[in-house]
Amino acid sequence: MKPLSYVQVRTAREAIEAFVAAGESARYIAGGTNLYDLMKLGIEKPAHLIDIADLDGANRIDTDGDRLFFGGAALMADVAEHPVVRDDYPVLAESLSKAASQQLRNMATVGGNLLQRTRCPYFRNGADGTYPCNKREPGSGCAAIGGIDRSQAVLGASAACNAVSPGDWPVALMAMDAAVELQGLDGTRVIPISELYRPPSRTPHLEFTIGREEIVTGISVPKTAAGRNSTYLKVRDRESYAFALVSAAVALEMDGDRVRQAHVALGGVATVPWRGRPAEAVLRGETLDRGRALEAARAAFAEARAGRHNAFKIELGARTLADAIINAGSRNQ
């Protein structure tokens, strides 16, 4: 049997020290919902697990200040059901409640969720050597390009990789200009969530800017009235328990019936959680109707490039985003 060490620690400092001491084959574990899955697929083969689920205060949810704060180990289920999140930031609550299943949300943490790895079937399926994958085996090639690419990205792909960033929560956070608190050997730093994700370019195996030993200790979201005028719309191959084909996070700062500033992000269609700036530009200063929403949504996909089987994501994505813009606008009281 493969030896596997496991330690539980109480502080981030202890965790980092244990991680560094354990060397290359160490992994942090919290909910384990992605790590165990990847271990069963033979993609992750850790020899040392450092459990950070119970770090002191790491599951804190604080909505009192001028930012919402979610500890890295707060459970997806707890954040989704928090009254302030549920009532004042539906985009956040919906992105969580439409992800995975209740059982998984009861285990998975909001910090770990930021680092969930792609669902690209060629990535997940080929650890036995069947399918090449630049993410799994750098330099081996990409079987998804030119293959069964229905699920693959139409935005942000490179010649080396077109795997979709799978999350819902990161997409909502992207729209809401969230910041991520990271703790490492040299203390704590805070980065905008947009800087957490690396485009695949020629090194798709490097997915995050986070240092190997760094821990996501918290996520914060600036409080904004746009939170109430927000929605997360997710379209998938079945009504529940599936990853997004396309998803849209929209929050609207309104000035009467005009959009002062729209916050738009897309999921299921891009290699990283994707900010839809062109859509935001179209909406700025405008009143909302179906035509304007669709025009904005199409702008968000202006740079999209289809493969063999995923062209539908461009049209479906635009229509879904348009629906989300209308939904968010209808929540404006």
Partner: protein, 726 residues
């Protein structure tokens, strides 16, 4: 006898199952049990150059690594696999350094623990010489075969088209699908009392004596197949599996019990599946909607080395009173494992094609599709001219239409709009499935204390066969359900038939009933009087006998005693749908209501009403459950399921339950079930025709037709996905 024969009863084994007392194959505890894991081939076709087992043997706990060098003596016999396919050349993995499909086992690691077996399997390295292959029926290297003999025909179909007022000529395509029963396929082999017992969740415990023994050069009586509970079969567990003989041989060579539970990801590559198929349907009608002729041509995927016959043409000509008919079936060989029977194996894809084509014809005629079907109802098989034993399809349609509210239907697509703007579509389709039967051997023992034990042929795979047997014993003997001991799925208790094709209830119920009636007769002779209303065991106790035992061989209609000998030898023997004086089918009508979101094209199945004519309903509760399950399969087929193959690699890309998309609860709207419940006593003593398969037939077509009614879009392939309706 109690008047309430088709009572709504809980499953007789529900309590055992809920408490976890029912032991499935992989639950069997054995001291000294070894665990096995397979090494799947990572190429689609070629030769094995070398297998390096050194690293695997270094893994602590690994006992042995088997390769083709160890198993070359295993024989491939025609009976070994695909019990109901046409016998082919066959291929047993690990008997030669040859790979015929991706994922087939090339080595078997046996260890003291499952973890060591898994780690050992990962440590085996195999070098291959790859060969060119084709994994899809549309590929250049696929091997089409000429049309098989014996195609159904009557009259001059081509000539009828010349005079037709309305014609449809359409092609429908069906994808590869995978059964995915929740109980994984597993094999445990152990020597007990001098015989090799094979514990495997199966629909055919006799396949081990009939097939495995031959493969291993053993006498059939040296093997015992044990499968008292199967956690869903759906046709995937109806024969010897690729791994069965490997595990049995490992147990034989190591003289220790060995267990292998196949991981789900591997089962997509080793177990059977529903093959891809194409269906060209041509229908001709006169101006009044009378069906003048049908021409139905199908092409079905197959493996290179074995035969899974195509049978798409068997049911469509029996659905309506066609004036003339011509069928044609062909197969195309590709480099995959052999496909096989999956719930309503050919009837479902055929009903998809033909019932949707009929909807298209109704459109061309400007006719209500329910009226079109009623106008072409028939009590006689157009092919043979024989009558049907019973056919209440028109009643299914009428009762279903009333319950569903079919009067809301209009021929204007998108005319019905829901409050939220969704387009509402209504669709109808019908289905049939042969009423088949198979012989049974039954021993029934009633004890004076009230215990009642029956050993008979048949497998419990979740469909409720034990409960059907219990219903007959309760009905005829009035025995206490709590004192029933029903022994099935075990060749140690009775010869076992392959339980499939909806002949389970139609065979087991008459067998149990015949045994119970014989027991009453013998008890009556013992007591010297007509039996009273007192419990039978009380009347037996008065004779001072501890028990009374009877044995009955049940031979289905149209067969003779030879069938019993075939059953005893583990050979499949079934009858139907054609019997000497009639044809027998179960029938069903499905009505579906879908709501389609205009912006995204998302389809939601809000409601399905299904009315079945399955002869006598043995148990309202399990029967309704069967139909609901069949409709859920129909929803999956219509909107969700497809095995994806990348032709450059072969194999199934989406080989897990996350990416092989089956419906979840949120995908399933209200399903309302009703039955005609008219016993078909011309067919058998119990009046049962079978239900598990017919439940699915036509369900997908009703949904596809409803999607057309909502959108005006005729999607001629399954599944209908979101991109099809954008």
């Amino acid at each position: 006898m109690t008047p309430n024969r088709n009572a709504d009863r809980p499953r007789i084994d529900a309590h055992e199952k809920v408490l976890g007392r029912a032991l499935y194959a992989a639950d069997q505890p054995f001291p000294g049990l070894l665990h096995a894991m397979t090494v799947p081939a990572t190429i689609a076709k070629g030769r094995i150059l070398s297998i390096d087992t050194a690293a695997a043997l270094q893994v602590p706990g690994v006992v042995r690594v088997f390769t083709h060098d160890d198993f070359s003596q295993i024989r491939t016999t025609p009976a070994a696999r695909g019990a109901y396919g046409q016998p082919g050349k066959g291929h047993q993995p690990m008997t030669a350094p040859q790979v015929r499909h991706r994922g087939e086992p090339v080595a078997l690691v046996v260890a003291e623990t499952l973890e060591a077996a898994v780690e050992g399997a990962e440590a085996v390295t195999v070098r291959y010489a790859e060969e060119s292959f084709s994994a899809r029926m549309d590929d250049d290297l696929a091997g089409p075969e000429p049309e098989a003999a014996g195609q159904l025909a009557s009259g001059d179909a081509e000539a009828a088209f010349a005079n037709a007022a309305h014609i449809v000529d359409v092609e429908y395509r069906h994808p590869q699908q995978h059964h995915n029963p929740i109980e994984l396929i597993s094999t445990t082999a152990a020597f007990e009392d001098g015989t090799l017992r094979i514990y495997e969740g199966t629909q055919s415990a006799a396949a081990f004596a009939g097939g495995l023994a031959g493969m291993m050069g053993m006498e059939p009586q040296a093997l015992r197949g044990v499968s008292p509970y199967t956690g869903g079969g759906f046709g995937q567990k109806n024969g010897v599996q690729e791994q069965s003989v490997l595990v049995a041989s490992a147990a034989l060579l190591l003289r220790r019990p060995v267990k292998l539970v196949m991981p789900r990801g591997q089962l997509f590559h080793t177990a059977s599946y529903r093959p891809q198929s194409r269906h060209r349907v041509r229908l001709a009608a006169d101006g009044n909607g009378r069906l003048l002729a049908g021409i139905y041509e199908t092409v079905q995927q197959n493996s290179r080395y074995d035969g899974f016959g195509s049978d798409h043409g068997a049911n469509p000509p029996r659905m309506y009173g066609y004036g003339a008919w011509r069928g044609s079936e062909r197969i195309v060989r590709v480099d995959t494992q052999t496909p096989g029977h999956q719930r309503a194996p050919h009837e479902h894809p055929a009903s998809h094609a033909t019932e949707c084509a009929l909807d298209e014809l109704a459109g061309a005629l400007g006719m209500d599709p329910v009226a079109l079907r009623l106008a072409n109802d028939t009590q006689r098989d157009p092919i043979t001219g024989k009558p049907f034993s019973s056919r209440h399809l028109a009643d299914c349609l009428r009762r279903g239409a009333a319950r569903f509210g079919w009067e809301r239907w209009t021929n204007q697509p998108g005319a019905l709009v829901a409050g939220n703007g969704d387009r509402i579509g209504l669709g109808v389709a019908c289905g049939s499935y042969k009423a088949a039967m198979t012989p049974s051997v039954t021993t029934l023992r009633l004890s004076a204390g009230g215990q009642c034990r029956i050993a008979t042929s048949g497998h419990e795979m979740g469909q409720g066969l034990r409960t059907v047997i219990a219903a007959e014993l309760i009905d005829v003997l009035g025995v206490d359900p709590g004192k029933l001991d029903i022994r099935i799925g075990d060749t140690g208790h009775a010869p076992q038939h392959l339980t499939a094709g909806s002949w389970g209830a139609g065979s087991a119920a008459p067998a149990a009933r015949a045994a119970a009636l014989k027991l009453r007769e013998e008890l009556s002779q013992l007591t010297g009087a007509v039996l009273s209303d007192e419990p039978v065991h009380v009347q037996l106790a008065r004779t001072r006998r501890p028990y009374l035992e009877v044995s009955v061989d049940t031979v289905p209609l149209g067969k003779d005693r030879q069938a019993i000998e075939q059953l005893r030898r583990g050979m499949p023997v079934t009858t139907g749908p054609e019997y000497p004086d009639f044809l027998a089918f179960s029938w069903i009508a499905h009505f579906a209501e879908v709501h389609v979101e205009p912006s995204t094209g998302r389809v939601r199945v809000r409601r399905v009403v299904s009315v079945a004519d399955c002869g006598r309903v043995m148990n309202r509760r399990t029967a309704e459950s069967q139909v609901r399950g069949g409709v859920v399969w129909g929803i999956g087929a219509a909107l969700r399921e497809a095995g994806e193959c990348d032709p450059r690699f072969g194999g199934v890309l989406n080989n897990d339950l996350a990416d092989y998309v089956v419906p979840v609860n949120a995908d399933v709207g209200a399903i309302e079930v009703d039955f005609i419940d008219e016993p078909d006593t011309r067919l058998n003593l119990s009046g049962v025709k079978g239900l598990g398969e017919v439940a699915m037939v036509g369900a997908a077509a009703a949904i596809v037709n409803a999607v057309h009614n909502a959108t005006g879009r005729r999607i001629r392939h399954l599944p209908i996905r979101i991109e099809d309706l954008l």
